[in-house]
Amino acid sequence: MRGQGFTTVVSMTGLLALWVLASFLTADPEILPQPWLLLPDFAKAIGSGELLFHLGATLYRVVWAFALSMGIGIALGLAMGRFPAFNQWFDPWLVIFLNLPALVLIVLCYLWIGLNETAAILAVTLNKIPNVTTVIREGTRALDPQLDAMARVYRLSWFERMHHIVLPQLAPFIAASARTGVAVIWKIVLVVEFLGRSSGIGFKIHLYFQLFNVSMVLVYAFSFIAIMLLIEWAVLQPWERRVTRWRTA
């Protein structure tokens, strides 16, 4: 644990050094400012309370969209992986929704529901569900039939089967789709926010991009990334360590 903390610090420092180098080579603070040049902007954004406000707005959307799309996506993925008939029916839908441009779904949601929080969250959720479904479906297809037979013989309830047999086997797939999930959600939230919200990191990033204020773009981007690193270390990795303990024991 100690060693790991140290590695992480060194590794992050390395990344920072890379940034400094790239920035030095670019030699144009308008394109890629040195990291320390962000500090005043960061202080300003924090000081004015803007950063926290927009971060809050974005996180609110991300959390909702994440919970909804993971929940629905896992359920659909399980169903499609388990029941080939169901899969045959909805497989084309999945491909279509998977490849429907985010823009189209977002605009339709806004126009149907209005430019409000519900539409924004729904748009992100709809964009993300097919991704989760696809990943979980693969995982479900790889479930061990022997353990299913065991569960059947001992007549485990649906809940027990999920808890003891299905979810542990899906853990790597769930972890993968949770990690990439947040990333995809976040990419879509940015579009959702610049297309129809007046708050959120995406809104600010787009604004500052249009002003070509790269430094502020980076300040906002890194605030979100910092939160994600925190979640990774405080939630995801401990969870993963716990559920994969049996592999390394």
Binding site: L147, M150, R152, Y154, R155
Partner: protein, 222 residues
């Protein structure tokens, strides 16, 4: 009463089992023997209701316990949780007690991957014995065990059967085991349309209550 009335079982175009009919009375123990690959496990899976793609009819009770040919444990659950996941009513103490009966005392917290194969098989036995099954199905339950451990397991099985009197169907390659536990021995042998039953062997009726002696007492119940 368990009744098997199988016309045939095929995988794709290959017939594996031909017409097979037999019954098992409540409390009766039946051994199934036959060469490797003849279809014993297939028949057991049919009896247990795991394989339903058959041409035939099976009558069987609901309360079932099965020892698979491979341990089939949950690798992500500790030994004790492997019992408790399958028998939700089981208390920690009873589960611990069950583990020590199969010689796994002190290994409660170990994951199956940390156990030797013989230990895993015994864990699978404990799992089957923890319920109160009306039908007990076992696929080579005592292999991969040294003689002494095998003897303990055999004795344990005898006790369980004597106490709860489930109908029991088990596969073995060991004549000694078959003769010791079973009242009847069924043999699978090749037939023109897949394996069929050969002549049945009936063991002498048990002499009195030949309860096993010594360490093994009744298996703990939830």
């Amino acid at each position: 009463m368990i009744r098997i009335d199988l016309n045939s079982k095929r995988f794709g175009d290959t017939p594996v089992l031909g017409p097979i009919s037999f019954t098992i009375a409540p409390g009766e123990t039946v051994a199934l023997v036959g060469p490797s690959g003849i279809g014993k496990s297939t028949l057991l899976r049919i009896v247990a209701g795991i394989d339903r793609k058959i041409d035939g009819r099976i009558v069987r009770p609901d309360g079932l316990a099965m020892v698979f040919q491979e341990p089939t444990l949950l690798p992500w659950r500790s030994a004790i949780d492997n019992l408790r996941a399958v028998h939700p009513g089981l208390s920690r103490e009873t589960a611990s007690e069950a583990l020590s009966q199969v010689g796994l005392a002190g290994k409660e917290a170990m994951f199956p991957g940390q156990l030797s194969l013989g230990q895993q098989r015994r864990l699978a036995l404990a799992r089957a014995f923890c319920g109160d099954p009306e039908l007990l199905v076992m696929d080579e339950p005592f292999v991969s065990l040294d003689a002494e451990t095998a003897e303990t397991m055999l004795a344990l099985t005898e006790t369980l059967i004597a106490h709860h009197r489930p109908s029991t169907l088990f596969v073995t390659h060991s004549r000694a085991e078959a003769v010791r536990l079973a009242q009847r021995i069924l043999t699978l042998e090749p037939g023109p349309q897949g394996a069929v039953l050969g002549p049945e062997q009936i063991r002498q009726v048990r002499t009195g209550t030949s309860r096993p002696t010594g360490v093994v007492t009744a298996f703990p119940k939830p």
